[in-house]
């Protein structure tokens, strides 16, 4: 049953954008098909009708253009929210994001800020064709000057998009496509956490699983299964990939002594690898086993009929938990 306050993530994002646009008329939405269509995932549905074509811009088809023009608009005092239609189509904008946007605050030495949000629907489990199911977040988390976040619930989606728009820094906003449609409670009165906080989402004693975006629900599912089998898993939702808030994670590892990091991205040179390295540095004497990573395989995202094997699931998370506890 849906009622006020129970929303899908897509609707929560839509409400967050609407509220941000109402609160500040410098906020613009721009991208491919974001106007009357409302975006291919309908995240911008109704915004064009409500705010008009000069606040919600259906742009020509070019990702470098979307981000490059957003940079110019930010120089003019606007706060653009760009939509990249799908994860795999962000690369034409790579120079504008990593060489331009990420460095411009630094190059201006304090005389300009670049409050631009780049929304990226990402991740698999939607059975789509090539280039529509990828997880490119590591490229951007690697880049100084960008902030990178990914919500896992409708409530976080609503508040994190609002906080991202309020940030004076560029924010890469990764939206887990597979979580667009499940519903959840949204408290429209006050945010649960700051934008860059990680959060304990399930308490447990024996092993910590850290996850973000689409993998949080998988980690929780794994914890559920493990509990039935008598293993107690604690789950931390990382939420922010740059910066990473290690507080709750280190506290958890100090308690459990075991850490598995789970993500849809492949593990080689990944955000998961970064978390594993840092936790090893900062909680070495609390660890009773090496930090393990669970991710997609290091191959191009395969045709959709293979995606359920390519992407990690609860069983693969549990396999890693077992390996960790078996040390």
């Amino acid at each position: 049953m849906s009622g006020p306050g129970v929303l899908t993530m897509a609707k929560a994002l839509n409400q967050g954008l609407r509220d941000a646009m109402s609160a500040d008329d410098k906020v613009l939405v721009m991208g491919e098909d974001v106007g009357p269509l409302g975006g291919v995932f309908r995240v911008t549905e109704g915004l064009h009708a409500e705010f008009g074509g000069s606040r919600v811009l259906d742009t020509p088809l070019g990702e470098a253009g979307i981000v490059g023009a957003a940079i110019g608009l930010a120089m003019r005092g606007y706060r653009p929210v760009c939509e990249i239609q799908f994860d795999g189509f962000i690369y034409p904008a790579f120079d504008q994001i990593t060489s331009q946007l990420a460095k411009l605050t630094n190059r201006h030495e304090g005389s300009a800020t670049f409050p631009i949000v780049i929304r990226v629907p990402y991740g698999g489990h939607i059975g789509a064709v090539e280039h529509h199911q990828e997880s490119p977040e590591a490229y951007f988390a690697h880049t100084p000057g960008l902030r990178v976040v990914s919500p896992s619930t409708p409530n976080d989606a609503y508040w994190m998009i609002r906080q991202a728009i309020e940030s004076d820094d560029p924010v890469m906003f990764f939206e887990p496509k597979s979580r667009y449609w499940p519903k959840g409670d949204v408290d429209l009165t006050s945010p649960a956490s700051p934008l860059h906080a990680s959060r304990l989402v399930r308490s447990g004693r024996e092993c910590t699983v850290a996850a973000y975006g689409p993998m949080v629900s998988v980690a929780l599912q794994a914890a559920e299964i493990a509990a039935a089998e008598g293993t107690s898993i604690e789950v931390v939702d990382i939420r922010s990939l740059s910066p990473i808030d290690y507080g709750p994670l280190l506290a958890s590892v100090e308690k459990t002594g075991h850490l598995v990091v789970a993500a849809e991205a492949s593990s080689f040179v990944s955000v998961s690898a970064e978390i594993a390295a840092t936790v090893t540095e900062r909680a070495f004497f609390s660890l009773e086993a090496p930090v393990l990573r669970v991710g997609a395989f290091d191959a191009p995202f395969p045709p959709a009929k293979l995606e359920s094997t390519f992407l990690p699931d609860a069983d693969r998370v549990l396999e890693a938990v077992d390996r960790s506890l078996g040390y």
Partner: protein, 381 residues
Amino acid sequence: MAKSASSTVDTTTLAEPVRFLDPDGRFAPTPAAERFASMLDELTEADRLEFYRDMAVVRRFDIEAGHLQRQGQLGLWVPSHGQEAAQVGSGRAARAQDTIFPSYREHAVARIRGVDLLDVLRMLRGLTHGGWTPAEVGNFRLYTLVIGSQTLHATGYAMGVGLDGAPTGDPSIDEAVLVYFGDGATSQGDTNEAMIWATSYQTPQVFFLQNNQWAISVPVSRQSRTPLVDRAAGFGMPATQIDGNDVLASYAATRYHLEHARSGGGPAFVEALTYRIGAHTTSDDPTRYRAADELALWESRDPLIRYRKYLENEGVAGSFFTGVDEEAADFAADIRRRTLELGPPPVDTMFDHVYSEEHPVPVAQKAWLSDYEAGFTEGES
């Protein structure tokens, strides 16, 4: 195998570009120049002299900067020699409220807008990636080294001018945007996207191409088999090709298109045919790829000499030129003196402004570096 692209575009086969001054400095407008002639009516005697001063001072500055690089005072120098007329005419055509997006060679425009050229040298000495605050220097944005990237920023900015409600109909406040790029940049995707967006949104903007015939060692014929000015039609933009070594042509055509753009007429494209007399940068050796006679031909079209002849024909006294030469020499001496005084930036400034709001990584690394360095000091004492 494709036919090799070995020569620069043969400008003699093209329709005559917009030109007011022939190479001997005689006022002899080409037919294409007629429609822009009225733009020159606004110029006072003082304006015309100022154009010369702009060109001569930057010519001298450019030579000095080259020496400073050879003497180890700069890591690199990017000469503007030969392109002064294209830059000064267009730069002077912009109004105070306009915003200018340069590439990296527009030293004359930088000076016109109020940039202290020492700040350009600070960048090439390895002290900064920026150097100035655009709002304090006539809205002259930062240099951009990634070829073509700034064209999109200019278009986005110009879209913002439109979203802010322009035009009001008052040219003394209505804004336009002027963006500089080179012949090499015309092959970049960003530059082409910028033009598509500009025409799509009918931005108040002029795309100013300095076709100096070369992109490092690659001639413009490798970038395009059609005159670059003709490309504008494909985007749906009016375009004008000018003799870029005629400062009056550069002024008049840019002024005309900027005024049209600021009044709501949409974007336009200016191709200035000019030549990079110097090396691409001080790291380059142009004798490896271009012929001496080509260089000699373009040296005979020197924009500064041409304009000086014109002013002399107009009766400007020799004392004016002597005065400008002295001023240029003083300017260069002052730049040299101040360059030699430049110290290194404090090491921990590399962590500043990575973000505008606090981010724990640069904060922690700045603190770590400070402790690390302090460790050496303690060791010494």
